[in-house]
């Protein structure tokens, strides 16, 4: 089986991103490289160019990376990183943070390719919680 697509969780909070990563591991992200990119370099609330760039590099095992932002500057800072390092196999996805990450992780763990994972994460917006 191909090496799975990586997932980067970009949040303003280090704890939020790390906690979501723990949840994904419980649901079965398995061999999927999930990397949390939360907070500033000193652990404060905010987003960091360097934290995000390093996380993308760490999550990249050769088959691409899906980046899920929580809000606002998580999107803007990730865009700046991707503008500086444009790559066709790194996708910033507009999806609900928790549900999108769960859908992405399960799809990646099942061997889905980059496009399948992007689609699964986006679909999370249309699936009711209950």
């Amino acid at each position: 089986m191909n090496r799975p697509v990586g997932i980067v969780l970009v949040s303003h909070s280090r704890g939020l991103a790390a906690g979501l990563g723990e949840l994904l591991a419980q649901i079965g992200s398995g061999e999927v490289p999930v990397v949390a990119a939360g907070g500033t370099t000193d652990g404060g609330i905010g987003t960091s160019y360097d934290v995000i760039a390093n996380a993308i590099a760490q999550a990249d095992h050769g088959n691409g990376v899906v980046v899920l932002p929580d809000l606002g500057s998580a999107v803007l800072t990730t865009r700046t990183v991707l503008d500086d390092h444009p790559r066709p196999d790194v996708a910033l996805v507009d999806a609900p943070f928790v549900e999108g990450a769960v859908a992405a992780a399960v799809t990646a763990a099942s061997g889905g390719d980059l496009q399948a994972i992007v689609t699964a994460a986006k679909e999370a917006r249309d699936v009711p919680k209950f």
Binding site: I27, G28, E99, V102, A103, A109, S110, V127, P128
Partner: protein, 88 residues
């Protein structure tokens, strides 16, 4: 095995169909070529969707029905039923 077959099973859930078993089901369901559906309380979802599975809100003690159509339908139903009956 015939080129096209269908299979069905019902499982009384020993535990809620929450995030962990839903994740297992979705990953397993993606490995079959058969078209699979899981039904609960009048609603039916495609089990490759982990969020859709969780949205069923299926609780312990209730029954879910697995149906599959396709060459590996029986294997799909058996595998998913096993995951559901051993869910914790």
């Amino acid at each position: 095995m015939s080129p096209s077959s269908s299979a069905q099973a019902s499982v009384v859930l020993p535990a809620h169909l929450h995030a962990r078993p839903a994740g297992k089901l979705a990953q397993s369901a993606a490995r079959f070529t058969a078209t699979i559906h899981i039904g609960h309380n009048g609603r039916t979802v495609n089990p490759t969707g982990v969020l859709a599975l969780m949205s069923l809100g299926a609780t312990a003690g209730t029954t879910v029905t697995i149906t599959a159509d396709g060459p590996d339908a029986q294997a799909a139903v058996d595998t998913l039923a096993e995951i559901l009956t051993t869910a914790e």
